[in-house]
């Protein structure tokens, strides 16, 4: 998201300030390099878990301070209304294109959609076109097979309960007295204590299933996809691939499954376990459907 914002700001000659947890700056050093190359100021946030949650708080503080001259941009479906809705609408291009492409290729809608969820922007962007209810009961039934994979240690539904963080009421990892828990996930994009509020709604309505995979499973999926298909997904998307590996054998041969690869492996830094200390500069291409430019 920071890179996309930095690109837009560079194109229109706007000032761009990106807040990022210092932990994430290390995990995504190449991404930081790219944003700075594009002329953005990248400010490290050293508070709390030094990840997305604390970066959002700091960006919101800057925004309230400079509200008369500044527009706040958030990459995921988080924050106060109307941000989750706006971001969903922007991301819904993923689902609209997927729908068109799969209908062109197969003449029918998929039986299952799988995406990873941090805040959940790529997932809601993919799902939105399939759960709008326009196709009635048939579509709703289908939508129940939407699977979501998040990091084990940041699995919000398993360990969370409704709460309010940064202007949103949603499932939240928190202690008994409402203090927000620190999370840990191998991938920066999944390392957040809450989930987009619309995902909480879909989950409570039983219209999508949410589960988690372990860091190890995600890394194994990353390896497998790289080896078998020559595609290097972002670590976030590797979670979706890991869940796909579990789900696919339970489906019939003629059923259709779409997995969303929402990010590219290039975002990993040399600290990533799969980079072995060397630069990662291979860009993954979309697999079964479109890739998001989300993060």
């Amino acid at each position: 998201m920071g890179s996309a914002t930095a690109t837009v700001a560079a194109m229109f000659g706007l000032q761009c300030e990106v807040y990022m947890g210092t932990e994430d700056m290390q995990r995504q050093a190449l991404n930081v390099f790219r944003m700075r190359l594009l002329g953005a100021t990248v400010t490290g946030v050293d508070a709390g878990s030094r990840t997305l949650k604390d970066a959002i708080s700091e960006a919101m503080r800057d925004w309230t301070t400079n509200i008369r001259t500044t527009h706040y941009i958030l990459g995921s479906v988080l924050g106060a209304h109307p941000y989750p809705m706006m971001i969903r609408d922007f991301q819904s291009i993923i689902g609209r294109e997927t729908r068109r492409q799969i209908l062109a290729a197969e003449g029918r809608l998929p039986d299952c959609l799988i995406a990873c969820v941090g805040g959940g922007s790529n997932a809601i962007g993919l799902f939105h076109a399939f759960i709008s209810g326009q196709e009635g009961e048939n579509d709703r039934r289908r939508s129940r097979r939407h699977g979501v994979a998040s990091g084990k240690h940041a699995a919000r539904f398993a360990g969370g309960r409704p709460g309010v963080l940064q202007g949103t009421m949603t499932y939240l990892l928190q202690g008994d007295d409402g203090q927000v828990n620190l999370t840990h996930s191998v991938s920066a994009g999944l390392d957040y204590a809450a989930i987009g509020p619309e995902h909480s709604y879909l989950r409570d309505q039983g219209r999508a299933e949410y589960t988690s995979v372990t860091d190890d499973e995600a890394m194994a999926a990353f390896d497998l996809l790289a080896r078998e298909e020559g595609i290097m997904p972002a670590l976030e998307s590797a979670h979706a691939v890991a869940h796909t590996i579990k789900v696919a054998p339970t489906m019939k041969k003629n059923q259709l499954l779409v997995v969303n690869l929402s990010g590219r492996g290039i975002r990993m830094s040399s600290r990533s376990p799969r980079c072995g200390g060397s630069r990662c500069d291979i860009e993954a291409r979309p697999y079964l459907c479109t890739a998001s430019s989300a993060r």
């Binding site: 709390g48 708080s57 503080r61 301070t65 940064q166 939240l172 007295d177 409402g178 927000v180």
Partner: protein
């Protein structure tokens, strides 16, 4: 119903004085010390005490209060222990005590149970920086039943429509945030504050208290000339921390109380 806040502001008005509202983070560095501090702040001249409820993600607060919240959380402070402290304090003082809490603390506690227990312990009002009145539905019924005033906030960017709406929803007083930004910022624009306080007065009979960015006795005096109350937060919290770092400099309240006394003297003048 006449609340204790209503009575305090009415008495001050009769005496031609303005309310000095002192903010401290409850549990920074410990609840025992906060308890003692409240008593000493009252003796030094504070009219109302605002007790911060520490939260892990205080989006409206600057570094001074963020760090105070971290210290308070480390000392094991929770909404439950703060309510118990208020009950203990009520044996010693009747000064109005207002809680400033991010909503998730209250949500986790249970809005209904919170309103009952807080009011029963002697809490006189509730300020929530992340809860606009539009969204406060789940809290309004229980708060009204318990007689706990909900104090809402207005900002320099609030529109005329918003001013009317928020001022009508607020109880006890209206909290005017003096600047666009976070607590402890140094951006006080008195002309702008004066203009906006006047606009708020046109839509409500409630007292208007001004907070955020009031750092010195001089600031407090200038704001008191404009509004019905002045809220001093980060400046006090900073003094508490400075005292903790160098306890040899005086007693618990040694370095904070002069600030309050100065603010109070300036404000009443």
């Amino acid at each position: 119903m006449i609340s204790k806040l209503d009575r305090t502001f009415a008495q001050l008005r009769q005496r031609g004085e303005k309310a000095l509202i002192a903010y401290v983070m409850a549990g920074d560095p410990s609840l025992q010390e906060t308890e003692q501090l409240v008593v000493e702040l009252e003796q030094a001249g504070a009219d109302i005490i605002e007790l911060g409820v520490p939260f892990s993600d205080p989006i409206a607060d600057g570094p001074v209060i963020q760090q105070a919240a971290e210290r308070a959380l480390r000392s094991g402070t929770s909404l439950r222990t703060i309510i118990s402290m208020v009950a203990r304090l009520r044996v010693r003082t009747q000064i109005p005590l207002v809680l400033m809490a991010y909503y998730n603390s209250i949500h986790a506690f249970g809005p209904e149970r919170f309103c009952q227990e807080a009011a029963q312990a002697g809490v006189d009002g509730l300020i929530m920086p992340d809860m606009p009145p539009d969204e406060a539905g789940p809290l309004k019924g229980p708060a009204a039943a318990a007689g706990l005033p909900l104090i809402f906030l207005l900002a320099p960017t609030s529109t005329a429509e918003r001013r009317t709406f928020v001022a009508r929803q607020s109880q006890g007083f209206v909290y005017y945030v003096s600047l666009t930004g976070i607590t402890g910022a140094k951006l006080l624009n008195l002309a702008d504050v004066a203009k906006n306080v006047e606009k708020i007065r046109k839509v409500t009979h409630l007292p208007v208290a001004v907070g955020f960015g009031v750092a010195t006795p001089e600031d407090a005096a200038k704001v008191a000339a404009i509004a019905d109350g002045v809220i001093v937060g980060s400046a006090i919290v900073k003094q508490i921390e400075a005292h903790r770092q160098k306890p040899a400099d005086g007693e618990a309240c040694g370095r904070i109380c002069p600030l309050i006394e100065n603010c109070h003297a300036s404000g009443s003048a």
